[in-house]
Symmetry: C2
Subunit: 498 residues, 2 copies
């Protein structure tokens, strides 16, 4: 277990150890009933005092994550229904692999893998922030696959350019120009989806102890990436105008961030839009403190009313913004394609990193979406997509308005795919999720979106993925569950006060 401690971060060492172990447990990397290092061993390994580790373990025990058994040691708390005998039996089958547990890794957290690991068969996935098949022009795309593979077999026989197909990099220029991003093919790199962009930016520019700022709540896979790099993560809460940039300014005075990650338009998970004023302020801050802004823009094309404010990249004159545009949320997640835009030496360094990570993306998937940008296909595709997603949002909001119980709140997003729901503070969305799964429903419990102090009373639902009748039925079921859940809580509070 490798824990990067930052002695200058202003976050106590106890808290850093606690967070690191809690992350490992909550993302399933430390398994139930797995033995943790002794206080003495961990304090020696991390070169911290015994009391520091002792306190961290104490808090983890209070949080119900670990268990100290007199004379035996400290173990990850078991939650599941599997008996510890079952676990022992599993291990006994392959006793010879035990040495692997001594191999330290640099993987403190893997939330996405954990979320995807749970088999959700026959479950209506309100958790899935992706488009329903009917919203994706699959036939059109599959035709491209066929045509390109037939016409140009070298697509299958060549390693493509590391930076991505030059035709596609040219074809997207008008798309970005229309959005006020003046760029050139040399400043664009093609990715295996925007997640790879976040990972490449982190592995190129962020290392142990570097200060990284995330919005709170934030897209959970982002936390995975920066934790893996050993960064010191600070969070800035968002409100209805997006990231609270004045709070960031205060942080910058004491600890200028190396990188600020933001998802300013229809933020995942909350749906919030950062105001134009704050976008300008954020860019100013980055210029003052020589920070990189990583602007993740997956859904700005999916707006339901007026267009959202221009991207931060469109205002960037000094090469501070590294801009990510994934196509998964509005064209096809299956092609695994995203674009990264950066200037100056940043783009060169990032292409170098891409080469190291996978030599380059497949050409055939890049060719399959090329005509989307080189013809007017995208312009035909977007307006009806917006219309249909707006109908879906309206449907869900209507049901929530009509049927959700008092004390439950939600965002009314002007775009994107998600609604962020907030329960009364004392309630835990994880418990609600357990009930929901039994009824054949899933959503994204909100605590995975908090990098540091987790909040348990939020969750995210997406209105884009289910077919319409199932969406309607699922949100109605959710409302019924919410009623029961809030009710039973009121009831138990009354008992407590009696």
């Amino acid at each position: 277990m490798h824990i990067d401690l930052d002695r200058h971060s202003g976050i106590t060492l106890t808290e850093q150890i606690r967070t690191s172990i809690a992350d490992r447990i909550q993302s399933g990397l430390l398994q139930e009933r797995e033995k943790l290092p002794s206080v003495r061993n961990l304090s020696r390994l991390l070169e911290v005092s015994l009391m520091t580790v002792f306190h961290a373990y104490e808090i983890l025990e209070q949080e119900g994550l670990i268990e100290r058994i007199q004379g035996k040691g400290t173990f990850v708390q078991g939650k599941s229904t599997r008996s510890s005998d079952q676990h022992k039996q599993d291990r006994a089958e392959k006793p010879s692999l035990d040495w692997q547990n001594t191999v330290a890794d640099y993987l403190p957290r893997a939330q996405y893998w954990r979320m995807m690991q749970t088999p959700l068969l026959d479950v209506a996935k309100l958790s899935m922030a992706a488009l329903h098949t009917s919203l994706i022009p699959t036939e059109w795309i599959s035709k491209q696959f066929f045509q390109y593979a037939q016409v140009d077999p070298t697509l299958l026989t060549e390693y493509g350019p590391v930076q991505g197909d030059s035709k596609l990099r040219e074809a997207v220029i008008p798309y970005f120009r229309e959005r006020n991003i003046m760029t050139s093919p040399n400043e664009i790199m093609i990715l295996n989806g925007s997640q790879q962009g976040i990972d490449l930016v982190a592995s190129t520019f962020v290392g142990p102890g570097d200060c990284v700022v995330l919005e709170e709540p934030v897209y959970p896979c982002t936390i995975d990436v920066f934790r893996k790099r050993g960064a010191t993560i600070y969070t800035i809460p968002i409100d209805e105008e997006g990231m609270q940039v004045d709070r960031l300014a205060m942080l910058c005075d004491s600890r200028p961030p190396k990188l600020i990650y933001t998802n300013p338009t229809f933020q995942n998970p909350t749906g919030t839009v950062m105001s134009a004023r704050r976008r300008a302020q954020l860019l100013e801050l980055a210029q003052s403190y020589h920070s990189i802004i990583l602007e993740d823009d997956a859904t700005s094309d999916i707006y339901f009313g007026s267009e959202p404010p221009p991207s931060i990249k469109s205002m960037d004159t000094h090469g501070h913004v590294i801009y990510l545009k994934g196509i998964s949320k509005f064209i096809s997640p299956g092609c695994r394609i995203g674009f990264l835009i950066a200037d100056g030496t940043f783009i060169a360094r990032l292409v170098g990193s891409k080469g190291i990570s996978d030599l380059g993306s497949p050409l055939i998937t890049q060719k399959a979406i090329l005509p989307f940008f080189s013809s007017n296909q995208l312009k035909k595709h977007l307006p009806p997509l917006r219309e249909k997603l707006k109908e879906r949002r309206d449907l869900v909001l209507r049901i929530l308005n009509r049927s959700a119980p008092k004390g439950v709140h939600w965002t009314k997003p002007d775009g994107g795919l998600n609604i962020w729901i907030t329960l009364p503070h004392a309630l835990n969305a994880d418990d609600l999720h357990t009930c929901a799964l039994k009824e054949g429903l899933s959503f994204l419990p909100g605590h995975v979106c908090y990098p540091t102090q987790q909040q348990y009373h939020h969750f995210r639902i997406s209105f884009s993925y289910l077919d319409l009748p199932l969406l309607e039925q699922s949100v109605a079921t959710l409302c019924r569950l919410l009623h029961d859940f809030v009710q039973s809580d009121r009831h138990s509070q009354q008992i407590m006060h009696m």
Copy 2:
């Protein structure tokens, strides 16, 4: 410029600084005439003495990589024909991006990107270790793309499983079993090519100062990966029996490696096969010292005589070997697919890392190669492929035997795609490459395959990529160039001795 120094590696700090800066210059990350930090600033930044940095700069200057100009500072030496005025002009256009140079990165080297960056139009690429189009069943594969995309449009609308398509993971089991690798779909992960596997293993298990062992010479992109992780790299030379495992044993006594990377079968670049005896010894060493073996097996299916010895993975009972099988070298590089096999907690941790790096590979490319493994297509494909590649190898060896000058040596590989050519010691393959490019020929200069002390008198040619007449003509041209090159060297030596 971020440099990871390891104070316990037995490699002097001066040498570590030298290597790190030389790597950056040789891979083009530090540009010609770029200013380096002053001795004072770098010594402060790295917390080493002034003399340590001074000596490193001194050696770099002797090597002709940097230039110290009195009163102005230290600069990267300019080699190209572009005038420094031109460089100044380039910079003047975008003066506002200068702040980017203050942003330290974790990218000490990017050889692959550099190699791919040079435009090689109208050049016969003996440098390219890939199959000629005629050796790849492109029509068959492109038909799969069409059929799958038509039959199952959800391939385009879903994020696939992080670990890879379960059907494909099942379908490859017989392939691996026939090669004595007893594995299960749960222990297999699908990658964007095997390079991604090297990168994931490194980013999961290797961190700053961890001891990593590489063969020497080695596939250059491997060096990029482990340098990026800040590992301390030790090299073990190979001979005709592969990695010299007895020398590794001596190293293990003083510095047990966390990871040993090997490409035991038809090694890239040399074509060498590690003997069965050494494979067993290597595995024993890994068991004794709790090391991971990363076995990269790209070309064991391409043998020209008897089958090569079984993989190290096939002998692995204790989960020490993480095994990589890329399909680029024998099916299609364009699909960007590779397989990783690991046991126990290793596979779980690596799948977690894959999720963080890109959420998973595209399903459509995985489906396109599925029938290769699920039908008998692969069994039909391999024998004629071996036959055709053997003919190509024989052709090239014939020409070399007949026409290469005395003093030049080469390997006679029993499989794979490459031949490793060695010049008389005083000659520099880089200079030969400059001549070759003028004649419309490229090869891989060998020095990029050396992680530490670079050797300049080797180079690699591949017999797989060019069409047959061009291959014949190119190797003949190469022989002519070799004659001139060796001749002119003898001539200049005679002058020196007069």
